[in-house]
Symmetry: C2
Subunit: 337 residues, 2 copies
């Protein structure tokens, strides 16, 4: 089959490799109908994260089950499935507490920008849905990571009715955090975004205000919007020190910054959290916990997170997909084998 | 009057200065009957925090009101009062949200290891109580900072019935966090302490287990006690990077480290929080929020936090008080003018 490899920073190529096979009786094999490129894939692409050797890449997909192990009971061959970006047993203490991303049997895919993938703990990982209508495909794919991650930011930040919520970061995750804030009842939703098309999409998703500035000016803009008190729910969806500093500065004392931006070597002083009682919650999103609800919202047409895919390319052009996202020509690229 | 000054690291002296006077009509003057030395005072004493010039020091006291401004309505001359370690109006948005330590009119005392002090926003800061019996004095004084701070650690960590709680740090605050964990219903309370007398006091306060080891060995001991899952409520009561790293490592995914140890230049990488969804909550304790309840618990004899005072000295010997705490000969020293 064809599969995407990153061989060095900036170097993405399609290679022919054998199709995956079942290893455990709890595995399933999925024929991937749609996958995509993640903002976090760009860390390797940009050389921020090391690429020690050629690696298969990709962790977001939807598709059709082609094989299941003998111990798989809830998923069967022919099912159309949505997959979270990690595999989990969904039965351990951490899973039962809603933190499947800390599952005691946590697993990662080998690489899903490909034609097939093996899914460990298929019962605890995959969710079967009716074969989606074409217009539902993008939004189901978005559930796999960016929507679930944006949702985790909102839940971690404590978004709720009547609150002013601010999203730091206008990538696909940040835009999905806007959706989450709207569904969770925030009264005012501020998207911090400098890019006109993303501002537009943020508004479509429910943002009531846009702040284009960053740093001190951006911080002051948020304080102005909140009578100098700070926002009651700040979602950090970038992963840099600058974004975290900004998030802390605009958060109201006693509230939590919900953070889902993947940090790479970011060190933060504890004083700013301490002095104003700003909490920090979040991390790798337990997408599996949110997935049933998110799929329901998508299928009911309540939300349309698939709008973050503003470019679709065939798998063979995956290198262009990375380039488009790296250059911010595309928010998020969907791949079709 | 006599007042304590820190003139340089390691140098504590009593100086004669004028008695404080009312500046605002919302002020009160309090004759201090008991004050004490705080672990955070040791930061300057040890030179970790700069001492740019001689400074009056101390922020914990109880005493009798001797003057009030015209706008003070709930506190009157002759009242015996307990004071939190910061002053607050108790009416602003942050105070109403329970974060008086982030009050929009937050204030700090000039120095309370002295005979008198001026209290700004007396109505929003002080709580009047009946003249305490001698055996209640120490525990009321403990409410002023260490008990309220330990309580904040427990609240921030989400201590609750049935949970396993771990306290990192065996200073007066850590020991009070044990009290808080017990009152808030923790099923198992582990005190991490290397010092036998403090272990003993932790047990008196409700600790069910003691772990004397630190670092990797200490972490593994906690994991052993929790079936490898980590504790559901970890309270960081030290303020060093080592203590924070240890706290994160022993926390169960999805839970929060409640942190109240004052950090000085501590930088923490975000990855450990991110990877296992460990939250961070806490900071400078809003003692005023907890004070009515804590005083009630003390006066009812439910708790006896005053046991952290294992040495009482006259104010004139305040330099010895600092030395005793610095050398860990005393957990906490009470001063009587």
């Amino acid at each position: 089959m064809r599969a995407t490899f990153i061989t060095a920073p900036g170097d993405i190529e399609i290679r022919q490799i054998p199709e995956p096979t079942l290893r455990e009786q709890t595995d399933a094999i999925v024929r991937i109908t749609h996958s995509c490129v993640c903002g976090s894939d760009l860390w390797s692409y940009r050389g921020v994260k090391e690429v020690p050797k050629p690696l298969q890449i990709g962790h977001e997909f939807i598709g059709e089950v082609t094989q299941v192990g003998d111990d798989v009971t809830t998923i069967k061959v022919g099912d159309f499935v949505v997959a979270p970006f990690t595999t989990s047993d969904n039965t351990c203490v951490h899973c039962r507490a809603g933190f499947q991303s800390a599952c005691q049997n946590l697993g990662f895919y080998r690489g899903c920008q490909a034609e097939f993938t093996r899914v460990a703990n298929a019962d605890g990982t995959l969710i079967a849905v009716a074969e989606p209508r074409p217009e539902q495909v993008r939004s189901l794919l978005a559930c796999s990571d960016v929507l679930g991650t944006g949702w985790h930011a909102a839940v971690s930040a404590g978004v709720g009715p009547g609150k002013t919520a601010v999203v730091v970061g206008d990538g696909a995750v940040g835009l999905c955090a806007v959706i989450a804030a709207r569904v969770l009842g925030a009264e005012r939703i501020v998207a911090m975004s400098r890019h006109e098309p993303r501002q537009q999409l943020a508004r479509t998703f429910g943002a009531t205000d846009i702040v284009a500035e960053r740093g001190e000016v951006g911080i002051n803009a948020i304080l102005d919007l909140t009578d100098g008190l700070g926002a009651q729910a700040v979602m950090e969806c970038v992963g840099t020190r600058e974004a975290m500093e900004q998030s802390i500065a605009i958060a109201r004392p006693g509230t939590c910054v919900g953070f889902v931006g993947v940090p790479h070597g970011v060190q933060m002083p504890l004083e700013p959290y301490f002095q104003r009682n700003i909490g920090l919650r979040g991390g790798m999103a337990p997408v599996r916990a949110y997935l049933p609800h998110l799929i329901e919202l998508v299928l009911a047409g309540t939300i349309d997170p698939g709008l973050v895919f503003d470019l679709t390319l065939p798998l063979d052009e995956v290198a262009d997909a990375y380039q488009a996202m790296d250059e911010r020509r595309a928010i998020k690229v969907m791949l079709e084998p």
